[in-house]
């Protein structure tokens, strides 16, 4: 089936540094998403993105977070600066129309020290 690729699979950084998580969505998909899963908790919605703009974001999407997809390249989540509570697995997803199945990547495990 369609594949969403996330790079890297693991990232360890020091608190206060910037980090960029990369997602290569399914090629003909137009809607993109980030979800966050803290260890032992449910996956939670962060943000969705369409036509170059953030459409919706949750309260978890702090001011330090930003997303973009410049010129059809990777869909990225940037955190600047990072905080200890940002440690989690971040899942990227994409869908073709926003009313169909979401396809998820395998996640990037972010550890902030």
């Amino acid at each position: 089936g369609p594949k969403v690729l996330q790079i890297p699979s693991h990232q360890i950084i020091d608190m206060g540094q910037m980090v960029t998580l990369n997602c290569d969505p399914v090629s003909n998909h137009l809607y993109f998403y980030w979800y966050k899963q803290i260890l032992g908790q449910q996956m939670e919605f962060l943000v969705n993105f369409y036509n170059g703009k953030v459409m919706e974001k949750s309260k978890l999407f702090k001011d330090q977070f930003s997303v973009e997809r410049p010129d059809g390249s990777y869909f990225t989540l940037k955190i600047q600066p990072t905080a200890l509570e940002d440690s989690a697995v971040y899942f990227c997803a994409s869908s073709r129309t926003g009313w169909e199945t979401l396809y998820f990547g395998s996640g990037t495990r972010l550890t902030v020290l």
Binding site: V89, L102, G105
Partner: protein, 110 residues
């Protein structure tokens, strides 16, 4: 409180048997998806339903928006069916914003 209540949290089945997983919703949902997380952590899409039932091999899912629940039935369970199963539902009018259940850890025993 949680909008998606998934049960059971864990389930052990012998090969060849079957059972059902269930998600109850505290509000009206527009659509539901079911996933299986494999040993590598990948979320495998099983079903997307906006209504009714769908069947795929030994899996069958139903979604009743009005009664606020969805089920995933597994029959003739095989060892490779082991994993954690999640339902996720969407109650928004815009692009999908899924609320996930806490998952059911399914173990298939020989």
């Amino acid at each position: 409180g949680d909008q998606v209540e998934q049960s059971p949290s864990a389930l052990s089945l012998h090969e060849g048997t079957g059972s059902a997983l269930r998600c109850n919703f505290t509000t009206t949902m527009r659509a539901v998806q079911w996933f299986r997380k494999n040993s590598r952590g990948s979320l495998i899409n099983l079903f997307y339903l906006a209504s009714g039932t769908k069947e795929n091999g030994r899996l069958k899912s139903a979604f009743d928006s009005k009664e606020r629940y969805s089920t995933l039935h597994i029959r003739d369970a095989q060892l490779e069916d082991s994993g954690t199963y999640f339902c996720a539902a969407d109650n928004t009018e815009g692009a999908d914003r899924l609320t996930f259940g806490k998952g059911t850890q399914l173990i298939i025993q020989p």
